[in-house]
Structure formats: C-alpha cells, structure tokens
C-alpha cells in the first residue's frame, strides 16, 4: 500500500499526507467513516481501470465546469484527470471538430455499459430540440444516445437537473433537465448555480469506491448534500430565532450580520449544504448568505429562477421564536366592540320599550275600564 501511494505522489504531484487528508475530507462530506476514506484512497491510488467519463454540454454558461476547475484542493484538476479517463468534454478537450466527435463515438462503443455520463446544461425540447446543436445533432439526441449505455448518469448543475435559468418562464426553447428527457433512467441531480464541486466529486468518489451511487432523495439528489434545508445549518439562524432581521441592504441589521430572511432569503425552502461546505475553500463564511446576500434558492426547483429574488420564502420548518408569551397572554380573546354593544343594548332597549308601551296601554285601558 505504501508503494502505491509513492507512485501516486509522483503521478499526482501531491504528498501522501495531503492526499489522505483530501480523501478523508471527501469521505467526511459524504458522511462516511475513516475506514471508508482509506478505501477511497486505495480506489484512487490503485484504480482497476480508470473509468471513462463522457461529458456533455447543453444550454448553459459552463458554470459547473468553471466551478469544478476552481476547486482549490491541491492539484485537483490533475487528480480528476488521473482518476478518471475524461474522454469527451467540450470545454477541456484540446481537439475539436469531427475528430473529437468520432473519438466520442468510438469510446462510447468500446466502453458501453461502463462509462460515466455527466450532463451539464439544459436540453431544449421545443421544435425537435433545434435550439442547441453540436456537430449537427441536437443536444436532445446526444443525451439520449449517450445515456443508452451509460453505467451512471450525473446531471451537474441546476440546468441539467431541472432546466435552470433557461427553463424560467416563458421558457422559449422548452428547456428541460436531463432527468425529464431520459424517462426510466436514474439521473443523479447535483443542482446549484453553480453547483458545489465537492458534491460532484464526492458522488463520483462514492461511485468509484463502492460501485454504487450514494443514497438519493425523492428528487434524486444525494442526501448527504441536499438532505437538509440551508435554514437548518445557517450561521445566521440564531438571529432568525431571536427575531433579529436585516430589513434593507446596508441598514444597521445588515451591518450586524442579522438574518436575511426579510430580504428574501430562500434558505428556509432550499435544500443544500452551502452553509456547511461553503465555496472556494477559503473559509470565513464564503457563500452567499455568509457575505451578506440572501440565498437565491438556485439549487431548488420551483424556487431559484422562479420566485422573485427578494420575495419572502415559505418557511418549511416552523419553530417558535426566541420570545415568550407572558402568563396572561392568550390566543384570540374578544373584547367588547361598539357595534356589538349597540346591537345588544338596542335589543334590551326594545324589550323595555315594548313593556313601557304595553304598560301605558294597560294603564289607560284600566282607567277607561274603571270609568265605564
């Protein structure tokens, strides 16, 4: 084993110590134990055969790839390139044109049933999918063809997961996520705009190590990353519970780092691990809410690109605020209203009035009786 790591050190240009640290970190973000981290390290250090990766790009800004390139662990890009065999990727391929397309076809045929398909970007479906073509073929056809013999399919980013910004109303190109154009296939969704690269890496590592996909939720998102609401792990949560809010950008509450809920933060309805993993590996709360901007809900279908940026979120988990009702405070008790008092008074008055009229009449009839 020691020998394996030595060659690895040469191959990847990382120290054995740093490499194991990296694997432990990935395992931790997956919620796995140290022994699983070792297994992971072994899987990377001694690959049986580097699995082939086919990477498609649809309608998008290349954000997911850019995000992956900026993952700051030492020489991560190289690690990926050494770990897997990336045989087709429009941004990273040095070649271009028919030659690259031909290589893709060959690779897919040769590795049928074994390669990993990564879809990045949305897939337009309107008018036969003509709004996105690569090498004369629509993205729709590319995706269906590549998915046919893929061992696993990962939709990386919100666009590939559920359509992203392209699918925002009125969705002129009929953009959809990979999952909805591949009925019957399991597509692992790793939404986010951009998605967190470690959620992708951890999923791939899980697949490499155990040969299976990590546990998924009902929207096929890995539970380790999307199992909780941002609200549940947010560093500003105590301010929410205490009822301390920033009311506008730059106000006193905003400067003091209060909760951004009232500025439209979508943390209470967005599932993602942003507050735990953050971005760009520099620490210090580097993620949207951490730097003072409300969460946009980019990772949640029906929230990001759907709800207005500054509209109030639906709170999915109601908890009591950090304030207490006094002993005397009650729910809905009713006081006297002028109207009710008037109606009640009028009714009593009517009875007394009627009695008065009757009494007068009886009195007069009696006197007339006696006169008779």
């Amino acid at each position: 084993m020691k020998g394996d790591f030595e060659t690895l050190e040469k191959r990847l240009g990382v120290s054995r110590r740093d490499f194991l640290k990296y694997c432990t970190g990935i395992a931790a973000s997956l919620g796995l134990s140290t022994s699983d981290a070792i297994a992971m390290a072994e899987a990377v250090a001694k690959p049986k055969k580097r699995p082939v990766v086919i990477w498609l790009h649809g309608q998008e800004c290349t954000g997911p790839t850019e995000s992956l390139l900026r993952s700051e662990h030492p020489t991560l890009d190289r690690l990926i390139l050494e770990m897997v065999s990336l045989e087709y990727h429009q941004t990273l391929d040095s070649g271009a044109g028919h030659k690259v397309e031909h290589m893709k076809e060959l690779s897919m045929k040769e590795n049928a049933g074994k390669y990993l398909l990564v879809v990045e970007g949305a897939i337009p479906t309107k008018d036969g999918g003509v709004y996105c073509k690569i090498a004369g073929t629509t993205m729709l056809d590319h995706t269906i063809e590549a998915a046919e013999h893929a061992a696993a399919i990962i939709a990386f980013g919100s666009c590939a997961s559920w359509g992203g910004v392209q699918s925002a109303s009125p969705n002129p190109t009929g953009a959809q996520g990979a999952q909805s154009v591949l009925p019957g296939k399991t597509v692992v969704n790793i939404p986010g705009c951009p998605p967190n690269p470690y959620n992708f890496l951890a999923t791939v590592m899980h697949f490499l190590t155990f040969g299976t996909l990590p546990e998924l939720d009902n929207q096929n998102r890995p539970k380790f990353a999307y199992g909780r609401l941002i609200h549940e792990n947010c560093e500003r949560r105590p301010h929410f519970d205490a009822g301390r809010f920033a009311k506008e950008f730059g106000d006193e509450g905003h400067k003091k780092g209060y909760c951004l809920y009232k500025l439209g933060c979508k943390g209470p309805e967005t599932h993602a691990n942003c507050p735990a993993v953050e971005f760009n590996d520099i620490g210090g709360g580097t993620w949207p809410i951490g730097v003072g901007h409300p969460c946009f809900g980019c990772a949640e279908e029906g929230v990001g690109f759907t709800k207005p940026l500054f509209s109030l979120a639906d709170v999915k988990t109601h908890t009591p605020p950090n304030q207490f009702p006094t002993i005397e405070q009650r729910e809905e008790t009713s006081g006297m209203t002028a109207g009710a008092a008037a109606v009640g008074g009028a009714a009593i008055g009517a009875i007394v009035g009627a009695a008065a009229v009757a009494s007068k009449k009886l009195g007069s009839s009696e006197s007339s009786d006696s006169q008779e």
């Binding site: 729910e331 009710a340 109606v343 009757a358």
Partner: protein, 379 residues
C-alpha cells in the same frame, strides 16, 4: 273544554315584517357559522367556551320558557283550575322557548352531526350534568308538543283523537312538571363543576340547583304575567288582572325563599364582605339584587299588584333579574384566569335575536290561527 279562539286578522303587520328582517339577518350569520365554523361568527374562545348561544338561548331561554311549567304546578298540583285560561298561551310560549333553546344548543354544538350520541346508551356518561340536561330538555320538548296538541286538534276538528289524548294527558302533564324540575335545577348544577371560574358570589355549590329552580319558577310566573299583559295590550283581550295578581302573590313567596337561600348561603360561607369589595362584580351583584327586590316590593303591595301596569313592571324586573343572575354566573363574572375576555360579536347577537324573532313570529302566527287566547267578550 277551553273557550279559546283563533284571533284571526292579518299576519303581515309592519311589526311582523320587522321581525322577518331580524330573522333574515340572523340566518345569514347562521349560514356563515355552518360554512366557516363557530369562530367565524361567535367570539367564544379558549377561556370562554360558552357564549350567549348557550347562556342566553339555552340557560336563560328555557328559564323564560318556564311559564307552562309554573302554571302546570299551580293548576294541577295546587288545584287552581281558574288559571286554565292562561294555560294554552303559556304552553305555546314554553314550547317555542324550549324548541328554540334546543335549536340554540344545536347551533352551538361543535359537532352537531353527532348530537344523537346523547341518546345512545353506549356513549352516555351518567356523571354528567350535561347529559341529564340534554336528555331532559329533548324529552320535555316532545312532552310540550303533546300538551299543546289539543289546540291544533281542535282547529282541525279531530274530535276522536282529542278525546283519546285527553284520557292520557295527565301522564304527560306529570312528566311535564317533573322534567323542568330536573333540568332547571341542573342548569344551576353546571356551575358546580366549573369551580373557581364562577365568582364566589355566584358559586354556591350544593345550593346551585335550589337557586336555579327558584329563579326559574319566578321567571316562569313572571313570563305568564308578561305575556298575558303584552297580548292584552297588543290584541285587546279580556282583562285577566285578577288572575295575574294572584300569580304575583305566588312570586312573592318564591322570591322571598330565593333571597333567603341566596343571602343565607353568602352569609354562612362568610362571603358577605365580597358584596362590597369585588369591584365590577359588586356592581353586578347589587344591580341583580335590586332587580330581584323591585318585584318583591311591588308585588307585596296589594294595590300595586292589582294595577296591570305596575304588575307588568314587576314581571319585567323579575325577568331581567333572573336573566342577569344567569348572565352574571355564566358569563359576566365568569373568570377562567388572567388574560381571557369575552363579549359577543354582532353576528353572534344577531343569531340570537334572529331566533327570538322567529319565536315571536311563530307565536303571532299560531295565536292568530289556532285556539290559544281568549277573545274579548264584547268583540
């Protein structure tokens, strides 16, 4: 056989139409209650589970409908047959009062679609005052219908049926005396289980049924006077003051007994000081007592008792006294703990007024079409 005759005449007088308007408004709010829940109309809340729908429509409404009960005792227990001419009108008012009390209870019932559980032995809880009241009131409504049936049968001329009914009527009259005795006293027993929530000036524990029954009887006799006087004024009927003033004499006895028990309980339990030191409750207590004392003063004087005008005022004061006694105990001084409050909403009051309007309208229609009242001899 009674000499009562239908009064005849137009039904749709301006007064009647005004009553119809009140009824229609009440029905609107009642619709809202059934569509959107009790809370959409009534102001009852976590601390005040019972509002005017229970306290007025049921607790006070049935006490005001004790005329039939009070007269039945007078006629059939004390053998005062001369009161017969008043009986049918009193029975009709009792029937209407009780029937609408039943309707009020149903409206207020949160799960009214299961009301029949009251009558199913497997559900019955014999420790419950509510069970006894519910069953008694339901049975008494049936008894009242039977007791009032002769007026209807006479109208349609079903002589055979009338004769057959007359043979067994005594049994229903007896039941009709027993049932109100039971549930009118039990309406007071309700207060026992509410314990400290009832102000000490009104919480008399084991004396509750006695006080409730005595006031109900006073109210029953007073409503007979009130009704006869009002009918006389409205329909220009025979003078019955000689009968009514004797009823006034009965009230004096009952009222004296009530005040002795009421103040006796307060003094024996050392609560006399509270009459003057309870703030708002003191004011209510004194007002209530004054309303009880006014009829006592009026009716003790023979001259005033024989004057139909002062007699009516004595009855009105008595009715307000009995009603305020119940309002005080159940609502105005009811205190479930700090922070709770209740005052009926406009909609809630309108529903109750709508029910009363319906009662008045039905009374008018029935006395005009059925043999209930005694027409003036000179007419």
């Amino acid at each position: 056989m009674s000499q009562a005759k239908p009064l005849g005449g137009t039904i749709f007088t301006p007064f009647f139409i005004a009553m119809m308007v009140v009824f229609a408004i009440g029905m609107y709010f009642l619709g809202v209650r059934f569509m959107n829940g009790i809370g959409a109309v009534a102001n009852i809340n976590g601390g005040y589970p019972w509002g005017i729908w229970v306290v007025y429509d049921v607790v006070i409404g049935t006490a005001l409908a004790c005329g039939g009960y009070a007269l039945a005792i007078t006629i059939y227990l004390f053998n005062k047959g001369q009161y017969h001419p008043l009986m049918r009108a009193a029975l009709l008012a009792s029937l209407l009062g009780y029937a609408l009390g039943g309707v009020g209870a149903f409206i207020d019932m949160g799960r009214y679609w299961q009301f029949y559980h009251l009558m199913m032995p497997k559900h019955m809880n014999f420790n419950s005052v509510m069970l006894e009241v519910g069953l008694c009131v339901a049975t008494y409504i049936l008894v009242l219908i039977i007791e009032f049936a002769p007026a209807f049968l006479e109208r349609i001329g079903a002589k055979g049926l009338l004769k057959a009914l007359d043979k067994v009527l005594f049994l229903f009259i007896a039941i009709g005396i027993l049932l109100p005795t039971m549930h009118q006293s039990s309406l007071g027993s309700f207060l026992v289980a509410m314990g400290y929530k009832i102000s000490p000036l009104w919480q008399s524990l084991y004396m509750q049924p006695v006080l409730a029954l005595l006031t109900a009887l006073c109210m029953g006799f007073s409503i007979v006077i009130f009704e006869a006087s009002m009918s006389k004024a409205a329909f220009d009927l025979d003078d019955e003051t000689h009968l009514l003033s004797k009823i006034g004499k009965i009230i004096v006895g009952l009222l004296t007994a009530y005040l002795v028990v009421r103040f006796g309980e307060i003094i024996v339990h050392g609560k006399f000081g509270l009459i003057f030191t309870s703030g708002k409750n003191s004011v209510l207590f004194i007002l209530e007592t004054a309303l009880f004392v006014i009829p006592l003063v009026i009716l003790t004087s023979e001259k005033k008792r024989n004057n139909p005008s002062t007699l009516l005022w004595a009855a009105v004061s008595m009715l307000f006294a009995g009603s305020l006694y119940r309002f005080n105990a159940f609502l105005l001084t009811y205190n479930p703990g700090p922070g709770y409050s209740y005052f009926p909403s406009v909609g809630e009051i309108m529903v109750t007024l709508g029910i009363i309007a319906f009662e008045v309208m039905t009374y008018i229609v029935l006395v005009k079409t059925l043999p209930v009242l005694h027409k003036p001899k000179h007419a």
